[in-house]
């Protein structure tokens, strides 16, 4: 009896701590916390080609990192006011839930359960990815459907593993999985011909292909077997902060549509003939104030690393070693599915 009483008391105290901690995290206004800290705490990958990597000076850079900078620019007018927190696939969600970071910009797929059950709010899609296959041209296969009996290198414990099983089963083809722990090992295994085909997200395949000295002997198959909409997310329950995060992303996309670039945004910020540009850049209306930010927040956002297209081309696009085409990630009017709501 005595023992259960003590255990009960300990459990109650622990529960109160947890409840208190969680409540403290959820109800505080993130924007105020961010302003008080003087920096946006942004969760990024520990290293993913094109999305988050270090330059020769040791600075973090990449597609996901550029969003962190844009968000810091929106809040502070200074893209440098970011504290990067590098997270693995395992600890990214606890880090966001516990308040260790303010926003997670780490190639995270927007799924139902993450959005609903884990208590996060995805604020949009920054990159439409999907799982694809790379194989040797010597295989003679032109499509993933001709891969009957092939051995497939696959990273274990990821959604790619499940997608692969689903796809091959629904197409009634057999395959032999070669399970491997990390992406880099899978790449090595494929290169050493331990498997015929390697599967991961299409952006990762492009990175992989670019490391092969004989890239012309490998082909990425046209089939994309899953939907992987990647985007930033914040904690559920602070709509103002979610709005700031969401409209920072939308501002980058709208800037491309409106032709606003890193180079010309200062000039365009002077009131001109296009009312949409005027509203966005703050020479007309009060969009910034509605968000609780300065009038010229969008100018700072675009000045940080340019509009969506500039960021894409700098880290992922044709002139980079990854050489990714815009594809689905082009604006809706250029044949893609990127469509940001109007800023008015």
């Amino acid at each position: 009896m005595k023992f259960t009483a003590i255990t009960g008391a300990v459990a109650a105290v622990a529960a109160m701590w947890i409840a208190g901690g969680a409540a403290g995290g959820a109800h505080a206004a993130t924007l105020d916390d961010v302003k008080a800290a003087g920096e946006v705490k942004c969760g990024i990958n520990t290293g993913l080609p094109g999305f988050a990597f270090t330059d020769d000076k040791g600075n973090w850079t990449g597609f996901d990192v550029a969003y962190c900078k844009a968000l810091a620019a929106a809040v502070f007018g200074d893209p440098g006011k970011v504290k990067y927190v590098n997270l693995t696939g395992k600890n990214r969600f606890p880090a966001l839930a516990s308040g260790e970071i303010d926003v997670l910009s780490r190639n995270t797929t927007w799924t139902f359960s993450r959005d609903v059950d884990l208590g996060f709010t995805f604020i949009g899609v920054s990159y439409y990815d999907g799982q694809g296959f790379i194989g040797r041209t010597a295989l003679g296969a032109k499509s993933a459907k001709e891969l009957d009996g092939a051995s497939v290198c696959i990273q274990t414990g990821t959604t790619t593993e499940l997608n692969l099983a689903d796809y091959f089963r629904s197409n009634n083809i057999k395959y032999e999985p070669v399970p491997i722990e990390t992406n880099e090992e899978a790449r090595k295994a494929y290169e050493a011909e331990r498997c015929d085909v390697y599967t991961t997200d299409a952006s990762g395949l492009a990175a992989t292909k670019s490391t092969f000295p004989d890239a012309e002997n490998h082909m990425v198959f046209p089939e994309i077997v899953s939907k992987e909409p990647l985007g930033p997310l914040v904690r559920q329950g602070d709509d103002q902060w979610a709005d700031i995060a969401r409209w920072t992303l939308n501002a980058l996309i709208n800037a491309e549509e409106l032709g606003l670039t890193q180079a010309n945004v200062d000039k365009m910020a002077v009131k001109g003939n296009n009312p949409e540009v005027n509203r966005m850049l703050g020479s007309e209306g009060s969009l910034g104030e509605m968000l609780g930010l300065s009038k010229t927040w969008a100018v700072a956002v675009i000045k940080s690393e340019g509009n969506y297209s500039e960021i894409f081309e700098r880290y992922l696009g044709k002139d980079t070693p990854l050489g990714l085409a815009r594809g689905q990630n082009a604006l809706y009017k250029d044949g893609g599915i990127l469509y940001a709501p109007p800023m008015r």
């Binding site: 993913l48 080609p49 270090t54 606890p94 260790e100």
Partner: protein, 369 residues
Amino acid sequence: MTDQAFHRQQAELLPQRAAPMTQVGVVGWARTNLFSSWLNSILTLVALYIIWVVVSTLIDWAFISSHVSGTDRFACTSEGACWAWLDQRIQQFLYGFYPSEETWRVNLAFVLLFPALAPWLFDNVPGARYLRWFSLAYPIIAAILLAGGLGLTVVGTDKLGGFTLNLTVGLAGIVLSLPIGIVLALGRQSRLPIIRILSIVFIESVRGVPLITLLFVSNIILPIFLPPDVSLNAVIRVIVMVTAFASAYMAEVIRGGLQAIPKGQYEAAQAMGLGYWQMMRLIILPQALKISIPGIVNTFIGLFKDTTLVIIIGLFDILGIANAMVSNPDWLGLSSETYVVVALFFFTVCFSMSRYSIHLERKLDTTNR
């Protein structure tokens, strides 16, 4: 008469001749050890061939057909290793994200480490008495040099990385875990129930979970309990967790040593009128620790290699830096080269520790063999 022929006498001893060429030196050694029978000869030749193939391929890859200059991997056109990144990135491998104009502080802290360690590791160090005082102050000096303060620019500990981080965490863990381990080992054998139970609970609970779990707890669970404005420094959290982990193992290694001491030693010490602490300090521990040296160094080496796990909580030790580097599109796919370099760093430190422990065992060897 015929006996005469058999009794021919030698006036002097024949001069000593050198042993035949085939029995001594390299040839003799090879004959007895490598080519003593047909089977051995064949095995030797096969082994030599394998070594030749491996080593020559390795040398060819690492040196002869490697490429050393350039600003990205596209400069490396040859078949062999690509070392072009060393020039650009070695700074990060050594210092992490430490500001380059401040790296002299890391270097100074590293250089000062030797006089701080010397009086504890070796005999006959000149000025050892004063150096021991310096050693006690060293942790504070190093902390100020690395983190800043007292007129030095403050550098956030998230900037600490690369091999500096491995050394910092590893050394702090090693230096702290030995005394804590000793106390825990003694505590586990204590006759005072509270101390004994606390020691057992600590040792068993820490030893019963993987280090990765401890790091996760320190990183994810602690912030939920702590008030939001209290943030424990990540490097300190790691040092605490690594130390706790190594201490638990250390305690068990030392307990093994303690149990090897014959009961007569305890009784003799008590008969001499020594108190508990005197007995431990003068009689028991010197013998127990000597026995435990291989186990202690084993734990140290394990601890040092475990410092690579800090990537779990977002700190970039030398291995994390290597992985971040090969994520840069300019350096994609150079993981073999970076792993080789990382392995060399670790081997240097771990092998030194191992050699030192052998030196120490020989020095303290008092058994009559």
